[in-house]
């Protein structure tokens, strides 16, 4: 039999259901995520560049962006440090109540943000438990930038903890032992061996935390006081524009927030990619 006469063979996938599962997930992703984003972009594009620029550079809008970005940056910095510490404690030490503490880390995700906002407001208002202590010192948390930062960091802390925790857990203790036998002290070992290994995951958690904080609404509106030019965040301003039937104004603000968040995530992904291409691991 000549080779030409042999029937050609079509390779088949071994795992069944590829088309069905991929089709379903892509369709769902489109309806839930992609189409709303496209709609937002189209809505924003429909405004026209000149008017769009005027809208997003209006003094009240600019002020809201500034407040949002500053508060989100502070909240994320706090989370970056605290989240790393929390993950370290949860992975490295054994102590009674460790599992409970671990479970508590999910509360900010599980709790409705409005509930979080309300309870934070109650605690920090002038007659609340913490407020009563801070108020005489001249520290006002409620109705200030501090309140916004507090609400933002509360709702986004698990991002950092949950990103770092599994990577830290899987880090082979032999790396640290090797560093110790080579003469490195604990700080040097952390800086040069442990942190580089968890950095990509940590950065992923930090940037997700920042992106989430940029759009935090539910928890913030209760505690912020929402004074234009002082404590009004961008997502609230977008909501106000909707209330005023100014859909274009709302879309313009939302679009800027979205681009900001995407830029941050993209930048973080680039750094993570560079850090992990030699065999480290990412989120």
């Amino acid at each position: 039999m000549s080779a030409a006469a042999a029937p050609s063979v079509r390779a088949r996938r071994v795992l069944p259901g590829f088309r069905l599962t991929l089709g379903t997930t892509v369709l769902y992703l489109s309806v839930i995520v992609l189409i709303p984003i496209i709609a937002l972009v189209l809505k924003g594009a429909g405004i026209g560049p000149g008017r769009f620029w005027d809208m997003v550079t209006a003094p009240r809008t600019l002020a809201s962006f500034r407040i949002t970005i500053v508060a989100a940056a502070i909240a994320t910095t706090i989370n970056a440090v605290y989240g790393l510490l929390m993950a370290w404690v949860l992975v490295r030490y054994e102590f009674p109540g460790k599992r409970l503490l671990d479970a508590l880390m999910d509360i900010p995700f599980a709790l409705p943000t409005a509930v979080a906002g309300l309870s934070l407001t109650a605690l920090y208002s002038a007659n609340g438990w913490f407020g009563a202590l801070l108020d005489p010192l001249g520290l006002q948390v409620v109705y200030s930038l501090g309140g916004i930062v507090l609400a933002m960091s509360f709702t986004s802390i698990p991002f950092v903890v949950r990103a770092v925790q599994p990577v830290l857990e899987e880090l082979d203790p032999a790396y640290e032992q090797a560093a110790a036998t080579l003469g490195a002290g604990s700080w040097t070992t952390f800086r040069r061996v442990v942190f580089p290994a968890i950095m990509p995951a940590w950065l992923g958690g930090v940037s997700t935390s920042f992106a989430r904080s940029l759009g935090e609404f539910g928890a913030v509106v209760f505690i912020a006081g929402n004074l234009p030019f002082q404590t009004e965040v961008a997502s609230l301003l977008a909501y106000i524009r909707i209330e005023e039937y100014d859909y274009e104004g709302a879309a313009a603000i939302a679009l800027v927030l979205m681009v900001l968040a995407l830029v941050v995530l993209l930048a973080s992904n680039i750094v993570q990619f560079r850090a992990t291409r030699h065999g480290g691991r990412s989120l």
Partner: protein, 350 residues
């Protein structure tokens, strides 16, 4: 520069891992800690490195109490089983690590570190790999880098945990010879852990056989192979056939066993166990013998026989296929046993 370990004990919870270890390693010696998993050999190595601490006992290096020193201050070169190379650093940076983390006052200048690294890359025959990352290396190459990283700090002692465990057989043999060469060139006192006898005997000056947290015997290949000190060693060294015998006036006898020619090392009269390797067991055709050949497997150069007796006990015997003794041994033939070599231990010690 001798290491002295005295009466060392260590438990993990209720498990006793080390039960009174006494060992002295001389300057420049290459010693293997050989034993099955769970024998405590890795724990002992980690205690010497300062990565673990004993419950009791002494560890001194040239008279200096090492149990008072942190691992950082012992200047140990430790090669980990899976190498533990830092994945985000190049080979060069990995090797330089121990020098770059020294306190400012003791740290060599950058150029000095670079030339030391180059020197090691050359010595380890991995010149071309300096700028690669660990993930881009083969197992054997990683092993060399791990050794380079440990040697860079000019260690007082070199410790290796299962250094060839993760490599395939051919690479293993090459690296073994190469490591012996490295040791002879550097002269660093070296202790390595292995569960592979061949590796231990080929590489080490002295082999320390451990079992259940104790040292059972210290010696070289010939002494441990031919004169095992304990039943465990005999079994561990391949004498897996245990035959019940009796010692009478310095001679060994047993039903269907022709072992009168074996030395008994002045054993007292009484019941004993004879430990024999399958290749040392010669079946002799004998119509009145208590054993019969139940199967024969031909592997080309070797015949593996399974012999069984009336009670159903089965023992293996290995013969060279072309040897005269192998002729006529077919299934069903009755035989008695003639051990060519073996070790006898009083029954109560087994």
């Amino acid at each position: 520069m001798t290491i002295e370990i005295a009466q060392m004990y260590k438990s993990f919870g209720r498990t006793e891992v080390l039960r009174g270890i006494d060992l002295t390693v001389a300057n420049g010696e290459l010693v293997a800690l050989l034993g099955p998993s769970g024998s405590g050999k890795t724990t002992l190595l980690k205690i010497i490195a300062g990565l673990d601490w004993p419950d009791r006992g002494g560890l001194a290096f040239d008279g200096q109490d090492w149990l008072q020193l942190s691992p950082q201050d012992r200047r140990i070169g430790f090669v980990f089983q899976n190498y533990a190379l830092f994945p985000q650093m190049t080979v060069r940076d990995n090797i330089a690590f121990g020098l770059t983390v020294r306190p400012r006052g003791e740290r060599p200048a950058k150029a000095q570190i670079a030339s030391r690294v180059n020197e090691l890359l050359g010595f380890l025959q991995i010149d071309a790999l300096g700028d690669r990352y660990p993930a881009q290396l083969s197992g054997g190459q990683r092993q060399r880098v791990a050794l380079g990283r440990a040697l860079a700090i000019e260690p007082t002692v070199l410790l290796l945990d299962e250094p060839f465990g993760a490599l395939d057989a051919a690479v293993r043999r090459d690296l073994r010879r190469w490591l012996r060469g490295v040791h002879d060139a550097m002269g660093t006192t070296t202790i390595f852990v292995t569960h592979d006898q061949e590796e231990a005997f080929e590489l080490a000056d002295r082999v320390v056989v451990m079992n259940h947290g104790r040292i059972e015997q210290i010696g070289n290949a010939a002494t441990i192979h031919d004169a095992p000190a304990t039943p465990f060693i005999a079994d561990f060294m391949g004498a897996t056939i245990h035959l019940p015998v009796a010692v009478r006036e310095g001679r060994i006898g047993g039903a269907g066993i022709d072992a009168a020619h074996l030395p008994t090392a002045d054993l007292p009269n009484g019941p004993a166990q004879l430990f024999v390797r399958p290749e040392d067991l010669l079946p002799i055709p004998d119509p009145s013998g208590p054993w019969s050949v139940s199967s024969v497997t031909n592997t080309g150069s070797q015949l593996r026989l399974i012999l069984s007796d009336a009670s159903g006990t089965e023992i293996p015997a290995d013969l060279r296929r072309r040897s005269p003794g192998a002729q006529g041994l077919t299934p069903g033939v009755r035989v008695h046993l003639r051990p060519e070599a073996g070790s006898v231990f009083p029954a109560e010690t087994v």
